[in-house]
Assembly symmetry: C2
Homo-oligomer: 138 residues x 2
């Protein structure tokens, strides 16, 4: 599901969530920086231009947006929680050398298995790890 800005506003409305200045800024940041940032990164970047923003608010907002499926958690590494705006089916590749996370599109719907007949599947996450071409060169 690709999420346009209008879709987001609709979802916020449906859930009676106001689009505060803080929430708008965090959403904008996620939309413009598709680097799957951590809470820390989001906070530090926004804090520069928005010094009153608190980290608690970043946590609260991300949890809120995750709950209504505007944002998704990228759990590719156990010691860092990253966040991504929900977009159509794609997987995540993390380079073990430079740490960068790449998106790759993949038809997740086609992944099924008879073993899961009778299971209701709400979410599918595909995580790959390895070395990216840039790091292979070096």
């Amino acid at each position: 599901m690709n999420t346009s800005f209008e879709d987001m506003l609709n979802k916020l409305n449906e859930n009676n969530i106001r689009l505060s200045h803080q929430r708008l800024k965090i959403l904008e940041y996620l939309a413009e920086n598709r680097c799957h940032p951590t809470v820390d990164k989001i906070y530090n970047e926004l804090h520069k231009d928005f010094p009153t923003l608190s980290k608690t608010t970043v946590y609260n907002t991300l949890n809120l947006l995750t709950k209504i499926n505007i944002v998704r958690i990228v759990n590719i590494e156990d010691n860092e929680t990253r966040y991504d705006i929900c977009t159509e089916n794609h997987g995540h590749f993390k380079c073990e050398s430079c740490g960068r996370i790449y998106d790759f599109s993949i038809d997740i719907d086609s992944f099924t298995t008879k073993e899961l007949d009778g299971f209701k599947i709400n979410e599918k996450d595909i995580y790959f790890k390895g070395i990216c071409p840039k790091c292979i060169k070096n």
Copy 2:
């Protein structure tokens, strides 16, 4: 890669890691309890019969075993790190209702995408979430 007990011992030897009593117990627990336990669960269960075992040791051992690919981290949820003995290709399904994690076999090697040409892929993790048949009944 399916890991037999002998394979494990070999890997420990290759890496000059002694099979201490603590490590054996933790390995045994993982082999016999394929429930993808958390550190806490492993610690609490083993602590009953082995009161001197410390949680630090559980952490150290799991990190050690992860490094040499005897154990793998199951990162399906961001607020809990779980552990699994490495076995042949399979994915993990977490029931959002009862919390149980199910294994399902899946041919992970067949998942590829042209977008990752030039990438060296070392690890593939497949995580599904939803509701399991038992919970659908209720």
